[in-house]
């Protein structure tokens, strides 16, 4: 008993010839169907080239346009010829001209000998297959498809829509249940002949000739009528991408294919010389006798689809430039933005770096320059510290920074005196952890040596900017993890929020916060704010600061009682 090969061929006839010879040399009869579009001359040359092999035959030719009935007709005609001429054939294997046997043919024969009544055909009900492309699953069967999708796409859509509108629908003949699956099967003589010789076949043929992509449903459905033993999988390794077209194998897939343990793979690029050489002529390269397992290849191709459909989060480049809110992640990794902390604490940046191991930058959106950690003039990716380059596209600067440093947590300082252009970008970024002590920008002013009139003007400006920024951070569109304290609130009990921030960054070296950063001396700050008020500028973002308060340096020191004025 042996296996017969039905080969559907339309291009790369040289390769098809090579493969046909390979099957034939192993004792498998081959029936070849050549697509009718192949010119007569080319066809004759192809037939002549194989004329030395008595066990290779050619069947009547049909036009095999993608997704049309012709492919099924071709398969039927070739299968009938196979069954009629080769009584020793017990299984028929449907292959294409770009299929390549990976394991010695004898292993396939042995494998099928051990499973004489099994039909290998992927066959699943329409509701259970996720791979349909183009939105047609059940409608493949219930609508009619008189025109080619490839050539007349608009007309095709027109017919689909009009049938939907008119509520047109067809019934399955004899109440059969539609099934779908890979076009490439291996059926036993018993099942295949039952399908081909069924007295009801004209009914089925008439029905399926108007089904969309019948080559993926005709045998898949009818096998269910006759087979006693269906193994619903294809022996042919064939991977499809997100558009429903098969992935192609190249020379560099050689090792992958060797380890795939599959009998046959498609599609092979016709110029993949090494693959054809390795699998058709190198008997020593035969693989171990193991159950087929395409899992290793699966991963590579599903990753390719993932890359094409979702891409790498936080990457903006020549072939990935997502529309706003369609980014699948605005930035590449979580990061933290601190506002008011380095104003309130003298050594906040080194303290945070020591406590978390993260890279802690200064004000990277400052007007004078980008204040990278350790005073560097550039950073990963050759990202410059020039404020002009940064402000030319501040959003790209941020996404570049996070992309370039992925693998290392980034923290940076921000304030109302910095470039505010990225506020919305950060607010809408789920990767952003934003901690703000409002009003802390007043501390450097309080400690500065400027004229009070100048201070008043600056304070009014900064307060306005920060207030607008807080509106952004509190908006319903904000996706960032935002925490906002007034300065008064924060200095009341700074340890708790600091611990929370460290926990969130998650890489704390210390289990409990033992060393707190050093708060600047705030004695006189309340009076400073009162002076601003007296000048008609009301600083409200700090919260309520009593005039006499703010002397305590650290919360551990004894708290003075509030003075109520």
């Amino acid at each position: 008993m042996t296996v017969g090969i039905v080969m559907l061929v339309h291009t790369a006839l040289g390769r098809a010839e090579q493969v046909a010879r390979h099957w034939s040399a192993a004792g498998c009869p081959v029936v070849i169907h050549v697509d009718k579009v192949v010119p007569r001359k080319t066809y004759n040359a192809f037939v002549a080239a194989l004329s030395d092999l008595s066990e290779v035959r050619f069947c009547g030719r049909y036009r095999c346009e993608w997704g049309t009935w012709g492919i099924v007709e071709a398969t039927q005609s070739a299968s009938e010829m196979m069954l009629a001429h080769y009584p020793s054939v017990r299984h028929v294997y449907l292959a294409s001209g770009s299929c390549l046997p990976l394991r010695p043919v004898q292993e396939l024969i042995d494998y099928l000998d051990e499973r004489p009544n099994t039909d290998f055909i992927e066959s699943a009900t329409t509701s259970e297959v996720p791979w349909t492309v183009g939105g047609l699953d059940e409608e493949r069967f219930t609508l009619r498809f008189p025109v080619s999708w490839k050539r007349h796409r608009h007309l095709f859509d027109f017919f689909v829509n009009i049938q939907r509108k008119l509520g047109m629908s067809r019934k399955m003949p004899n109440g059969i249940l539609p099934h779908m699956g890979s076009q490439w099967w291996c059926l036993s003589r018993r099942t295949l002949s039952a399908i081909l010789q069924d007295p009801e076949r004209p009914t089925y043929d008439r029905f399926f000739s108007q089904v969309w992509i019948p080559d993926e449903s005709y045998f898949q459905t009818l096998t269910r009528q006759y087979s006693e033993n269906i193994e619903s999988r294809s022996l042919t390794l064939s991977k499809f991408d997100f558009q429903g077209k098969p992935h192609i194998f190249y020379d560099d897939h050689l090792q992958l294919l060797r380890r795939s343990d599959c009998f046959v793979a498609r599609k092979i690029w016709p110029y993949a010389d090494r693959l054809y050489e390795a699998f058709l002529t190198d008997a020593a390269g035969a693989m171990k006798r193991t159950e087929p397992n395409p899992g290793k290849i699966d991963r590579i191709f599903s990753k390719a689809v993932e890359r094409r459909t979702r891409g790498r989060s936080g990457l903006y480049m020549q072939s990935r430039f997502p529309n706003e809110d369609w980014e699948n992640g605005v930035t590449a990794a979580p990061y933290s933005m601190f506002q008011g902390f380095s104003e309130l604490f003298e050594n906040f940046e080194p303290w945070l770096a020591a406590a978390t191991g993260a890279r802690v930058h200064g004000h990277i959106f400052a007007k004078d320059r980008v204040h990278y950690a350790d005073g560097q003039t550039a950073i990963n990716g050759a990202l410059s510290d020039s404020p002009v380059l940064r402000d030319y596209n501040a959003k790209a600067f941020l996404t570049n920074l996070i992309w370039n440093t992925r693998g290392e947590r980034q923290c940076f300082q921000f304030g109302p005196d910095d470039n505010q252009e990225i506020n919305w970008r950060i607010a809408k970024d789920p990767n952003a952890q934003v901690s703000v002590i409002t009003g802390a920008w007043a501390v450097p002013l309080f400690r500065s040596n400027l004229d009070f009139a100048a201070i008043r003007a600056i304070a009014a400006r900064l307060q306005k900017i920060e207030s607008e920024h807080m509106d952004v951070l509190r908006s319903p569109y904000t996706k960032a993890r935002v925490r906002i304290w007034t300065m008064a609130e924060f200095i009341e009990a700074p340890m708790e929020p600091l611990q929370g921030i460290l926990d969130e960054i998650g890489r704390t070296k210390l289990r409990r916060l033992s060393e707190a950063p050093k708060m600047v001396d705030l004695s006189g700050f309340g009076q400073f704010l009162q002076n601003l008020k007296n000048q008609g500028m009301h600083p409200y973002l700090m919260g309520d600061f009593p005039v006499e308060r703010g002397v305590e340096n650290m919360p551990k020191t004894q708290r003075k009682p509030y003075l109520v004025q």
Binding site: D241, F242, Q243, K245, H247, I248, Y250, D251, D252, W269, Y271, I300, F301, K303, A304, V305, R307, R308, T309, R310, G311, R312, L315, Y316, M317, Q318, S319, R320, F321, P322, N323, W326, E327, N328, A378, I379, N380, G381, A382, L383, S384, S386, V388, L389, Y392, N393, A396, F397, N400, W403, N404
Partner: protein, 316 residues
């Protein structure tokens, strides 16, 4: 169309072209020293026929190209600038000869790198693009530069320029959309960082679409940065996914650059009043270092893919 009268045929070997040949289109001026490696690089990649427009060279490159068996050659003394930087000349040749072919349009200092280019010839890519119904392929310019002074290591004819200029900037590119032509406008890299740090809006465009399944209705608009019809510029995904793309390694910054910049400045034949060359000349006086501590050393396409400068898309 009138631009074709500016072109004088030197050698026409286009009758050798087979129906499925991959074609390369290039304008050049005094690039004799670069040509041997350039031709070698693209022959190995699988280019079947080269089209050159020589813009009035006087360094022997015309004779050299005329001798190559797979080159068709035209000559012009007309203005590079008024031909919209060569594209008018090439568009005419493309309309005439490239219809139905994959056409690669590059400069003599641009070297295409695409996914799997170390194991798969260019035809593997174009076959895949055909099968995927994709008509144009993006490859942004990646400026390559040496470590140290530009003139420190003299370039020899036939040498791989990336032996010398093997460094690049990996992560300082900015992108915006050009709504008129729907293409992306990419800037950045060492030229923006060193020459245009004070006026980044003037930094050169790095987006390119050099590989196109040509149709006689197509045309490059400005250099190979954008095409018409506009759909050909849709080489990027807008919904988060990545389309397949490559990189043009740009080996401009070799020891030959100083002389070239001087010559180009005198001719004034480049974009926007040669602002680029003015900036270069300005900075070259101070002997600038393009290299910095964060420069990346080029290894292969996989490195560029990991860095996010190009993508395999769904080609696996």
């Amino acid at each position: 169309m009138r631009k074709r009268r500016e072109l004088k045929r030197v050698v026409n070997r286009t009758d050798q072209i087979r129906a499925d040949d991959l074609l390369l289109f290039c304008t050049q001026r005094n690039e004799r020293i670069r040509l041997p490696y350039f031709l070698d690089y693209y022959r190995k990649m699988g280019i079947g026929h080269f089209f050159f427009v020589d813009n009035d060279s006087d360094d022997g490159s015309l004779a050299y190209l005329a001798d190559q068996p797979d080159v068709s050659l035209w000559h012009t003394t007309a203005s590079y600038k008024r031909s919209r930087f060569g594209v008018d000349w090439l568009n005419w040749l493309q309309i005439k000869y490239a219809h139905g072919h994959w056409a690669l349009t590059v400069d003599p200092d641009e070297f295409l790198v695409y996914p799997f280019c170390d194991t798969r010839p260019l035809r593997a890519l174009t076959d895949w693009l055909d099968a995927s119904s994709i008509k144009s392929f993006s490859a942004m310019i990646l400026d390559m530069y040496p470590k140290g002074r530009l003139d420190e290591q003299p370039y020899q004819a036939g040498q791989d320029p990336m032996d010398i200029a093997c460094w690049f900037d990996s992560g300082n590119y900015t992108i915006s959309r050009n709504h008129r032509f729907t293409n992306l406008w990419i800037q950045g890299g060492p030229r923006a960082r060193v020459f245009f740090a004070d006026e980044p809006e003037k930094a050169p465009a790095l987006n390119k679409v050099p590989l196109v399944k040509w149709d006689k209705r197509y045309a490059y608009v400005s250099s190979t940065h954008m095409l018409l019809p506009r759909g050909l510029n849709q080489v990027y995904d807008e919904w988060g996914g990545e389309k397949a793309s490559g990189v043009l390694l740009h080996a401009k910054f070799l020891d030959t650059f100083g002389a070239k910049a001087k010559e180009e400045l005198e001719r004034g034949q480049h974009y926007a009043g040669s602002v680029e060359y003015k900036a270069y000349a300005e900075r070259l006086k101070d002997d600038p270092q393009l290299w910095c501590k964060w420069s990346e050393r080029y290894i292969n396409w996989r490195q560029l893919e990991i860095l996010g400068l190009m993508s395999k898309g769904n080609w696996a």
